[in-house]
C-alpha cells in the first residue's frame, strides 16, 4: 500500500519534471545560437549549415582556420603542435595534408621521433583535440609562429621519401 503510494508520487513528479517523456537517458542539447535559414527547411544548403548546428563556436573557429579562404588559414608545410586530452597529450609535426570534409575535416602531421617516421591524423572537431598551435607557418599571413617557406603543393606526401627535407624543416625550426 505504502509502496504503491510512493510509486504514485514518483510517477507524478517524474512526468512533471521530464521535458522528454519517451526516454529517460536522452540528452537535450542547448538550442543552436543561429536559427536555421529558411531554405534549409527545404533541404537547400542543409549539409553546409549543419556544422554550425552541431559544433561549438570554438570548434567552428578552428575549422575556419583550416578552410581555403580564411585570411590566417593554416597551409600545408606548417609545423603544428596539437594538444590532446588523451595520450599522446602533445604531438608536433609538419602538416602534410588537410582533408576538408566539413565537420569531418582532418589533417596529417608527420614527425621523425627516434629515427622513426610517425604520422598522426587529427580530426579538427574531435573533443579530444584541445589546442592547435602553429609553430611555423608556411608562407601564409598572420603573426602566429615563425615565418617559413611556402610549399608549392597541397599534399606533401613526397616528404615521406625525402628525409633530408624533413631534417631541413626541423633545422629551420631550431634556428
Amino acid at each position: 500500500m505504502l509502496n504503491a503510494l510512493r510509486r504514485c508520487a514518483q510517477r507524478l513528479m517524474s512526468t512533471a519534471a521530464q521535458p522528454y517523456p519517451y526516454s529517460n537517458a536522452a540528452i537535450i542539447p542547448p538550442p543552436p545560437a543561429v536559427p536555421a535559414p529558411a531554405p534549409t527547411k527545404a533541404g537547400k544548403g542543409l549539409m553546409a549549415h549543419l556544422p554550425q548546428r552541431l559544433l561549438t563556436p570554438e570548434k567552428l573557429q578552428l575549422l575556419a582556420r583550416f578552410g581555403k579562404r580564411h585570411p590566417e588559414r593554416i597551409l600545408p608545410g606548417s609545423v603544428l603542435q596539437v594538444t590532446t586530452k588523451y595520450a599522446p597529450t602533445s604531438f608536433t609535426g609538419v602538416l602534410l595534408a588537410i582533408r576538408r570534409r566539413g565537420a569531418d575535416t582532418s589533417f596529417l602531421l608527420r614527425n621523425v621521433i627516434n629515427r622513426t617516421g610517425v604520422e598522426v591524423q587529427f580530426f579538427v572537431c574531435s573533443p579530444h583535440v584541445r589546442e592547435i598551435k602553429v609553430l611555423m607557418r608556411a608562407g601564409g599571413r598572420g603573426s602566429e609562429g615563425r615565418a617559413g617557406p611556402r610549399m608549392r603543393r597541397a599534399k606533401l606526401f613526397y616528404l615521406r621519401d625525402a628525409p633530408d627535407k624533413m631534417t631541413a624543416i626541423s633545422a629551420g625550426m631550431r634556428k
Partner: protein, 315 residues
C-alpha cells in the same frame, strides 16, 4: 520505472496475420477517430513509418569522444493520405497507413492522383507508400508527421533504392573470385569460369549467377540507431549508411528485429526491462506529429551506446 503501455487492458485484437500487400479493391478506409481516448503504445503494436529524403552524411562525436558516421534524413511535408483496412477471404485483416511525402506541382500530377490527394486534403506529392500497422496504430488522414516520431536511442530500418551500378561482371555482382592473375591464364582474369556440368544435366540451371545489371533496386538496411532528432528542421540522424543517392526518398520504420520483434517476445516472456532499448520508456503513438513536436524540445540526442570510456585503459 513507469511503463504506461503495461497499465492498459489487454484488448483482443482482430486476427491480424503476417502483414503483406493485397488488392486495393478490397480496401476500405478506416473510420475517422472512432475512439475518443488517445491510444497508447503497447509491445504488440506496430507503428507507421515515415518517408524522408537522404540529405547526406556527416560525423558526430559522442560523450566519450568516439567518432561515428551519421546519415542525415529530412522529412519533406510527410503526411497521411489514407488508412487502409482490407479483409481477406479467411476473414483476417490487413491494416496499413498510407503516407506521402515531397510536395509536387499540381500540373505534373495525374488527374487520378490529384483526386486522391484532394480527398485526403493534402497537397499533391511525389511519393506515396504504405506501412503495414496493427489496427490501433491508424493515424487521422491529413496528419503531418514530425521527426519527433522517432526516439533517439531506438533502432530503425531504412529502405531505399540502391545506387545503380549498371551492367556489372560476376566479380562485383556475385563476389566471384575470378581467375589467376598469371600462370598462363589468357584474357579471362575476371571471367566467371564454368557455368555448368557436362551432358548431365546438359543445360545451365535457371538462376545461374551471371553478369547483369546491379543496383537500382529496393534495399533495406536494418537496425540503424537513431542518434539525434531535430524537429525544427525535421531531421533524423541515423548512425551508419543508408542505401540510395543524396536527396533520394527513403522509407524509415521501427526496426523489425530490434524493436518490434524484441518488444513482442520480451513482453510475452515478462522481461519488462528488455521490451524497449536501453533508456527508452515509450514511443509516440500512433505517430509523432507536428502538434506533439511543439510540446517537446526542438533537438534531442541519444547518449553514447557505450558503457565505458574506451580511451581510459582498463586495469
Amino acid at each position: 520505472m513507469l511503463r504506461l503501455w503495461s497499465l492498459g487492458t489487454r484488448s483482443a485484437l482482430p486476427r491480424c496475420r503476417a502483414l503483406h500487400i493485397t488488392a486495393v479493391n478490397n480496401a476500405v478506409a478506416e473510420a475517422e477517430s472512432s475512439t475518443a481516448a488517445v491510444s497508447k503504445w503497447t509491445p504488440k503494436s506496430v507503428r507507421t513509418g515515415l518517408i524522408a529524403r537522404k540529405r547526406g552524411m556527416t560525423v558526430m562525436w559522442d560523450s566519450y569522444g568516439v567518432r561515428y558516421p551519421v546519415t542525415v534524413l529530412q522529412l519533406e511535408n510527410c503526411q497521411v493520405t489514407a488508412n487502409v483496412r482490407t479483409v481477406r477471404e479467411d476473414q483476417s485483416e490487413y491494416h496499413a497507413v498510407q503516407v506521402a511525402a515531397s510536395d509536387r506541382p499540381a500540373k505534373n500530377v495525374t488527374k487520378q492522383m490529384l483526386g486522391h490527394f484532394d480527398r485526403a486534403g493534402v497537397p499533391p506529392k511525389r511519393i506515396v507508400k504504405e506501412f503495414p500497422v496493427t489496427p490501433d496504430a491508424h493515424v487521422p488522414v491529413g496528419t503531418t508527421f514530425s521527426a519527433i516520431h522517432f526516439v533517439p536511442g531506438q533502432y530503425v530500418d531504412v529502405i531505399a533504392k540502391s545506387i545503380g551500378k549498371g551492367f556489372q561482371g560476376t566479380m562485383k555482382r556475385w563476389n566471384f573470385k575470378g581467375l589467376r592473375a598469371s600462370h598462363g591464364v589468357s584474357v579471362s582474369h575476371r571471367a566467371a569460369g564454368a557455368i555448368g556440368a557436362h551432358q548431365d544435366p546438359g543445360r545451365v540451371w535457371p538462376g545461374k549467377k551471371m553478369a547483369g545489371r546491379l543496383g537500382g533496386e529496393r534495399t533495406t538496411t536494418q537496425n540503424l540507431a537513431v542518434v539525434r532528432v531535430d524537429s525544427e528542421l525535421d531531421l533524423i540522424f541515423v548512425r551508419g549508411c543508408v542505401p540510395g543517392v543524396d536527396d533520394a526518398h527513403v522509407m524509415i520504420r521501427d526496426a523489425k528485429k530490434k524493436m518490434t520483434q524484441l518488444a513482442q517476445h520480451n513482453h510475452a516472456k515478462g522481461n519488462v526491462d528488455k521490451v524497449l532499448p536501453r533508456g527508452l520508456v515509450d514511443l509516440p503513438f500512433p505517430a509523432g506529429t507536428k502538434e506533439l513536436a511543439k510540446a517537446l524540445p526542438p533537438v534531442i540526442e541519444a547518449p553514447s551506446s557505450r558503457v565505458s570510456d574506451p580511451f581510459v585503459p582498463r586495469e
